[in-house]
């Protein structure tokens, strides 16, 4: 429905090619998939956070008309537990992963205990109420720090004191000396509360088994279909990888939660094979909240020290990271590498020491949620730097400026085991944000209003994050159990149509549009002639999927490299036809011509037809223009920026109004500004929601108190402001596109920006820190203590 032909496409804010189907109700999401003879699953979930299963009586459920079968955990002992693919590298990890269903012990509320299969979903739901389970409740622990203390209930035999891993980085002795001898030390206990990703489409699986070929097909709402295929076949079922095809239909938001392998994938596959009928399971919202992964859940003691004139000399961090009752697919790596190694943020800090104690608790599993470790790091450093500024009585913008990594020091090694920060220039982003918000005037206005009894707060946040996470060799050293390269195949059909297949896939990011813009420019062909195919393991080369803001930096680069190989081959073929030297050929504007003789040329379409017919190929050349690249970057990319928010706090009610939100993000080069802005809007909204609204709460018995959208406050339109977005552009030297990544930057920059503003507004009341979310109740109390 688009007809975008003008070049260049890169840099243009064109509208998305994904949208026509989505705005007319023709999107094909998981629950829209219907198969012949399909059965429906409903899951009985544990109401206890920790209990021994003494018996399960499924007879009444099985007898209900319309019920096909009932299965319990013991039925599925012939397949393995789910794998964890990212233990923390270089440290001892006490690994425990979930099975498709609990067998003897349940360890969190919502863990699957039995599955009913019925002719429709309503009968299946009726039947789970007829299952009797006899539980012996056990003691419960939900707090990641208390889990390690003497006398705490123990979740797993191989994890004394519920410790998954005790991880550290940095220079402990040097940091201890720096803190002991510093002119100024600020310390704080900072909680990064548990969150729930809440994609509006919940998760689920549909499995079909073909007994004639022993092949499974799995439709699942996933960010990484190839990885699901690998983990389910090689690790859970022990079958050849070729016996499973995984398809992600339209994915209705992911935010990390849909990266991982889940029990429903396993039981749907297993049951479909057992019954010889397709099995469909789609979570309802309360199941998504109880049973799919959560994010964050850090409790941290932090000390930052420095000089009276604002120079930071040391940072000491000790974090308890709750990972839930079992390890989800990449949980330990998120809490260690993606958090601890970027803890210094935008600053040059000579002495840093960080300890992370990752623990098991009787809660849902915690894994990557938008930003994954980096929002926790960014929140911590930016809160404590603000605390330092208050202690010094120095403007928070000035403290930041004095400690930025200087632009002359890139590539910059922060000494914590990361690869060097690729490129950066932090002060211009700060200056632009200060100018955009009108900082000097704002501070004067703030002072004037304060004199009138009004409480305005201004919050700053300068963030750095890690995108395009790779290369594989480095990640393997961090414990990552597979690759992190990405693939792309580009082939040119007879008619000149370009078909690109990629292991990256969208769940809202518009990568079909962005990728087509890149390939159209690279090949000099019309945008509309480029088709991007993805999300089906049967039609795409192996790829690691979409997360960590990596699709463009890694997947997009693979595409560029394949397109360049196509161009090289096209030049060789054109040279053959024109009887010229390949080295003398120029590829431009959809034509391949001989240098100095522009009239001697072939169009790209002519070469495509010639190559795909292949009747008279030059010696040594194969027919067809078809090239694949498996691209493993030399480094990650490190986007950065400064966000500034202006809030007003109302002491009478405790309410917070966000009056302005100004963001200056440097995500490197930008392919489609409209899409990038959209990513930043959504990212900022999620960080802002953490600061003001969201909190996943368990009581001491391990009951999830925020189990529905009535209790878990994801913001609606009236709870968020407009966003004022602009950029500086520091291209990444890591990839030929010069891009860094934009999917997570908004979230990584925003929570502390709002909290710093709220705390600034409350400073006349002596408030120096407040735990998120800054609810009216907390603020009301803070203004009265």
């Amino acid at each position: 429905m688009t007809s975008e032909t003008t070049k260049p496409m890169i840099g243009r804010a064109i509208k998305r090619r994904e949208d026509p189907k989505l705005i007319t109700g023709q999107g094909n999401f998981l629950d829209d998939v219907k198969l012949n003879d399909m059965t429906h699953a409903a899951v009985l979930r544990s109401p206890y956070a920790h209990a021994r299963i003494l018996s399960i009586d499924t007879r009444k459920a099985a007898a209900l008309p319309g019920v096909v079968a009932v299965f319990v955990g013991k039925d599925l002992l012939d397949v393995n537990a789910l794998p964890c693919a990212w233990p923390a590298g270089g440290f001892k990890n006490n690994m425990n992963t979930p099975r498709a269903m609990a067998v003897d012990v349940v360890r969190f509320v919502g863990e699957a205990v039995a599955v009913v299969i019925a002719e429709d979903r309503f009968i299946a739901r009726d039947a789970i109420d007829l299952i009797d389970v006899d539980y012996e409740p056990l003691a419960v622990v939900v707090d990641p720090e208390k889990a390690t203390q003497a006398g705490a209930p123990q979740l797993h035999e191989n994890a004394p004191n519920n410790v998954v891993v005790e991880w550290s980085a940095g220079n402990r002795e040097g940091t201890n000396r720096a803190v002991a001898s510093a002119e100024v030390v600020v310390k704080e206990r900072i909680v990064n509360q548990r969150l729930m990703a809440t994609p509006i489409e919940t998760r689920g699986s549909i499995a079909r088994y073909e007994s004639s070929t022993n092949e499974f097909t799995l439709w699942t709402s996933s960010q990484a279909p190839h990885v699901m295929r690998l983990l389910l076949t090689a690790f859970v079922f022990g079958i050849p990888e070729t016996k499973l095809r995984v398809i992600a239909p339209n994915v209705g938001g992911g935010f990390g939660q849909k990266i991982f392998v889940y029990p429903d994938m396993v039981f749907c596959m297993w049951i479909s094979r057992k019954l010889g009928r397709p099995v469909k399971f789609v979570e309802d919202r309360s199941e998504n909240f109880k049973s799919s992964t959560h994010g964050r859940d850090h409790v941290t003691d932090v000390e930052l020290c420095g000089t009276r004139d604002g120079k930071i000399t040391g940072l000491r961090v000790k974090t308890y990271a709750g990972l839930g009752a079992y390890l989800s697919t990449i949980a330990p790596g998120v809490a260690t590498t993606l958090y601890g190694r970027i803890i210094t943020g935008a600053y040059k800090i000579p002495n840093v020491s960080i300890d992370v104690i990752a623990t098991y608790t009787n809660t849902a599993m915690v894994d990557a949620y938008r930003g994954a470790g980096r929002p926790e790091a960014s929140y911590l450093i930016e809160r404590i730097v603000d605390r330092f500024a208050v202690e010094l009585g120095m403007d928070p913008a000035e403290v930041r400026r004095r400690n930025y990594i200087p632009p002359t020091e890139f590539p910059y090694d922060n000494g914590l085991g990361l690869l060097p920060y690729d490129s950066g220039n932090y002060a211009p982003a700060l200056d632009k944000a200060l100018a955009n918000v009108g900082y000097t005037n704002l501070r004067q206005e703030q002072a004037a209003l304060r004199a009138q009894g009004r409480y305005i707060g201004i919050g700053l946040s300068s963030y750095v994050e890690i995108c395009g996470v790779a290369p594989t060799a480095w990640a393997n050293g961090q414990g990552w159990g597979a690759g992190l390269w990405e693939s792309a195949n580009v082939r040119i059909h007879l008619t000149g149509q370009v078909v690109v297949t990629t292991g990256s896939l969208p769940h809202g990011q518009g990568v079909e549009t962005t990728f087509a813009q890149i390939v159209a420019d690279e090949l000099g062909v019309p945008y509309d002639s480029v088709l991007i195919e993805h999300s089906d393991t049967a039609g795409t080369p192996f790829g690691y999927g979409t997360y960590g803001s990596r699709s463009l930096a890694v997947g997009g680069t693979a595409m560029v490299k394949s397109a360049r190989k196509i161009k090289e081959k096209a030049k060789r073929l054109a040279a053959h036809l024109l009887e010229a030297n390949p080295e003398d050929m120029i590829f431009a504007d959809g034509k391949i011509s001989v240098k100095g003789s522009p009239d001697k040329s072939k169009t790209f379409g002519e070469i495509a037809l010639y190559a795909s017919v292949g009747a008279s190929m030059p010696e040594g050349e194969e027919p067809f223009l078809d090239e694949t690249t498996y691209y493993d970057p030399p480094n990650c990319t490190f986007p950065f920026g400064t966000h500034i928010s202006v809030v007003e706090v109302f002491p009478d009610t405790g309410a917070v109004e966000v009056k302005r939100y100004v963001a200056v993000d440097d995500v490197g080069n930008i392919i489609n500004p409209r899409i990038v802005h959209g990513q930043l809007h959504g990212g900022i909204a999620q960080g802002m929601a953490q600061a003001l609204y969201e909190n996943a709460v368990y009581d001491d018995n391990g009951q999830l108190l925020t189990g529905t959208l009535m209790d878990y406050a994801i913001p609606n339109a009236s709870m968020l402001p407009d966003f004022e977005i602009s950029h500086t552009v520091t291209p990444s030297p890591v990839n030929p596109l010069g891009v860094k990544g934009a999917g997570e930057a908004g979230t990584i920059g925003s929570a502390q920006c709002i909290m710093n503003a709220v705390i600034d507004a409350l400073s006349p009341f002596g408030v120096r820190h407040m735990q998120m979310p800054a609810t009216p109740e907390k603020i009301w109390h803070a203004t009265r203590s």
């Binding site: 949208d19 109700g25 509006i200 009236s718």
Partner: protein, 163 residues
């Protein structure tokens, strides 16, 4: 069981439904109109919003049996003769959607909003859409999309805001 006759997107259907069948399940499972989505189980998210006799309702809390002799419009029925409704056009032009899962409900709620208030302020758009949750956009571009449609429906010249 109840027998109902419902006009959906201009087409009459006579169907037997269980007493407990919700309108959203009737639309999705029996009529195969899967553009209307389910995002929660407590009537918060609004992904299921459709029009019943011209008014927006959450079809996840409406019994199908109650819609006997009613006229229902879903997202599939909004475009006319292949021409997008101004709201659909606005969401596309203004990048008012990302994953697109909340979009059908969001558009149907916005339709009702603009029926009641053809010239809303941004603030009125935000409050008018309080019953619909989007996790992708932060709502910034949804407000732009609704204003684009409002202007177009008032007969004004419109274009997507610059980025």
């Amino acid at each position: 069981m109840a027998r109902i006759t419902v006009t959906v997107n201009g087409k009459s259907h006579t169907s037997d439904v269980e007493d407990r069948t919700l309108l959203v399940h009737y639309l999705r499972e029996q009529l195969n109109l899967t553009g209307t989505h389910i995002g929660c189980d407590t009537s918060q998210c609004g992904a299921c919003v459709v029009l019943v006799d011209g008014q927006s309702v959450k079809s996840c809390t409406t019994l199908a049996a109650r819609c006997d002799h009613a006229s229902v419009t879903t997202i599939e029925g909004l475009a006319q003769d292949g021409t997008l409704h101004p709201l659909q056009e606005g969401f596309w032009e203004c990048h008012g959607l990302q994953c697109g899962f909340c979009t059908p409900g969001m558009i149907m709620s916005a339709y009702d909003l603009l029926q009641q208030n053809p010239n809303p302020s941004d603030d009125e758009v935000r409050h008018g859409l309080e019953g619909n949750l989007c996790r992708c956009t932060g709502y910034h571009n949804i407000v732009r999309a609704v204003q684009y449609a409002a202007a177009k429906m008032r007969g004004e010249e419109v274009s997507a805001p610059n980025v």
